[in-house]
Amino acid sequence: MDKQYKVQVKDLHKSYGENEVLKGIDLAVKPSEVVCMIGPSGSGKSTFLRCLNRLEVPNSGHIYIDGYDIADSKTDINLVRQNIGMVFQHFNLFPNMSVIDNITLAPVELKKMSKEEAQEAALHYLDIVGLKEKANVNPRTLSGGQKQRVAIARALAMKPDVMLFDEPTSALDPEMVGDVLGVMQDLAKEGMTMIVVTHEMGFAKRVADRVVFFHDGKIREDGTPEQIFEHPQHPDTQNFLNKVLNV
């Protein structure tokens, strides 16, 4: 692998039975780069993202993150996952514990942090996402946007090198979207390496360093937001952007 990249993917394939959903993906992400992945549903972008922390096991190819090959079954995936934060479409907060316990669980269990230390850190991250006063409530009582911000704080508490976002605003009411995207924009400014699957074209334009267009299990086009949104080269890209931008 190349040292200059944080994440490097080589010729990644993934099939479900007969159905090949990733048909050879190559992608390299530099430190502090924000990459947005767009494309029609079923194009493989979410599957690709889930391969990056082995929630999906690829059939062949390589994924290098921090020098570990994620695709290699010998890699201790639990260790690598500690450095890869993941935010889901449906938040997946743990309803059997309070907000702050959601955040301190992994640091206490895995980083051998003391409870007090972890709670202090958790309050810091809750402050970052603007929800410090919600520390002791049950996640069930939060709105969708608040839940997603807690989920981001939970991922940040492990101090990851890379953050993966799987359609983080798709399940939110429109008025909640702004809060979550705002937090993500702040993260990007801080220099976090981020890979984001999204339908928020405005966010991709504004925040992304690079936009990657997925179509039919392949990367059709890869470039700066200007290149992709202003001067799309491939007819599939033009077609897709016409549909989503001119609603």
Binding site: R81, M86, H90, N92, L105, A106, L110
Partner: protein, 486 residues
């Protein structure tokens, strides 16, 4: 894939569980086997066996055989312990070596001689035919096309089988005399073939039947031993019988139970529902407590076993999933009574180790109810949103930590109603263990009824007792569920 720590934990848990159980029955038995004989004895089979209110044979009038053994043991200097079971179970337990000797007014037949050694016979017993008090049947020739009730394995059954083609009747089998006689009383069965003295005892105690034949096929009665084993005990008992016959003790004993004071039972004022409760209070409470004990210990074991099965059922590896499904399939597929017989009577044949009755009961409950709990646990864990797994695992939590910290607490909450329901089912299922002779509430009822013949009132009392306990349990579970939702 390498075996992770939790897989190894499950294996060691299972091994520990098995060794504990093995140790439980091995140690208990070896310690006592040397000086004390285990004698299998039937539930009340008056006048041969008459249990007291506590369901034991320690009282003043325990019946011909227990009183005879009591006298012989004193004379011949040996100790013994009774195991109370059905007549069929005695025959099987003799064969499997669960007991050293068995008795229950056992007829000496050629068929039985092949598998059982008999003591000297001390009494001759004949079969009689009895019909309902108002029945018009007086001869066997009137039985054509009708149903005849017999007790399976008993001499009456053997006789009925030998003449059934000649007279053209059908046979229905029962395990207790009382149930059988009530069937004839109600007119379902046209007649019954039973031991003369036993039927006389029943009629004297208010069973509305009448005997219409003389004693047929008088056969010798004796005590049975496993073929070729326990020659020592056999010699002692033969010696004792000879001594009792020579000294006139035997005739006196038999007279006491067939003509004299040994067959007195409750007076009519004790036969009201309240009289019956008052008279049998201690026995009923002991039976109830045994039921509760079995339920609690059995449920705890079933919960432990079910948790292991459930956790195996959601494991990542195909092997554990398959093993869990197979175990659940097997124990859900076997009727509990068959499982109880298999464990209590079948297993000792295989291992040569006796199993204490209570342990056999708990083991049956653990395996049978545990299979259901396993399915409940697996279902509960599977009902937790898969996103919870993904979120926990993507934080870097290993499988086991994700299970314990995130999935299990949510899954257990989902399971609680089903688990409480299973607890109530377990309580009711303990009654099935009466088949192997566990003195729980149902068996206590059987024993009391065999003595006082008050089938309707006693079963009513027992049904109400079960309902009270189950109502209390239901209230408790509603309370717990409300607390959990709050």
């Amino acid at each position: 894939m390498k075996k992770s720590w939790w897989q190894r934990t499950i294996i060691s848990c299972a091994v520990m569980l098995m060794t504990t159980f093995a140790g439980l029955f091995v140690n208990k038995q070896v310690a006592h086997a040397e000086q004390t004989y285990t004698i299998g004895v039937v539930d009340t089979f008056a006048p041969f066996e008459i249990q007291n209110k506590q369901g034991t044979y320690t009282g003043k009038n325990p019946g011909i055989e227990p009183e005879m053994i009591r006298m012989i043991a004193k004379h011949e200097h040996f100790k013994y312990r009774y195991k109370i079971m059905s007549f069929n179970a005695i025959l099987q337990a003799l064969d499997s070596g669960q007991i050293d000797a068995g008795m229950g007014g056992m007829s000496v037949t050629d068929e039985r001689k092949a598998k059982i050694d008999f003591s000297t016979s001390y009494y001759k017993d004949g079969i009689v035919m009895a019909v309902g008090k108002n029945s018009k049947i007086t001869k066997m020739s009137q039985l054509k096309g009708k149903t005849v009730d017999v007790k399976s394995g008993a001499a009456g059954a053997l006789y009925a089988e030998s003449i059934k083609d000649k007279y053209g009747f059908k046979i229905k089998y029962f395990t207790t005399s009382n149930a059988m006689w009530n069937d004839v009383k109600s007119g379902n069965g046209a007649a019954t073939f039973d031991d003369g003295p036993v039927l006389q005892y029943g009629i004297r105690n208010g069973m509305p039947l009448k005997i219409v034949t003389k004693q047929i096929n008088a056969t010798p009665i004796a005590i049975g031993f496993k073929k070729g084993q326990n020659k020592e005990l056999q010699a002692k008992i033969n010696d004792g019988i000879k001594w009792m016959q020579k000294t006139g003790r035997m005739q006196k004993l038999i007279d006491k139970y067939t003509k004299g004071s040994g067959t007195k039972t409750e007076s009519s004022k004790d036969r009201t529902i309240f009289g019956l409760i008052k008279n049998n209070r201690k026995a009923l409470l002991t039976g109830l407590w045994e039921t509760i004990e079995l339920t609690i210990i059995g449920s705890l074991c079933a919960l432990a076993f079910g948790l292991v099965l459930g956790i195996m059922g959601i494991a990542e590896g195909k092997f554990w999933k398959g093993l869990s499904s197979t175990i659940i399939y097997i124990f859900r597929g076997i009727p509990m009574m068959v499982l109880a017989f298999f464990i209590y009577i079948g297993l000792p044949n295989l291992t040569g180790q006796k199993i204490p009755l209570f342990t056999a009961g708990v083991l049956t409950l653990m395996l049978d109810e545990g299979a259901y709990v396993g399915a409940i646990v697996r279902g509960g864990f599977e009902a937790v949103d898969v996103g919870q797994w993904e979120a926990a695992r993507s934080l870097g939590l290993p499988y086991s930590k994700a299970l314990v910290k995130v999935i299990a607490p949510q899954g257990l909450k989902i399971m609680v109603p089903s688990l409480v329901n299973q607890l109530i089912i377990t309580l009711k299922d303990t009654s099935i263990l009466s088949a192997i002779g566990v003195m729980e509430l149902t068996q206590t009822g059987t024993v009391i009824i065999a003595r006082n013949m008050e089938g309707f009132k006693m079963w009513l009392i027992i049904a109400v007792m079960y309902m009270i306990i189950i109502t209390l349990l239901t209230w408790l579970s509603n309370y717990v569920q409300k607390r959990m939702e709050a």
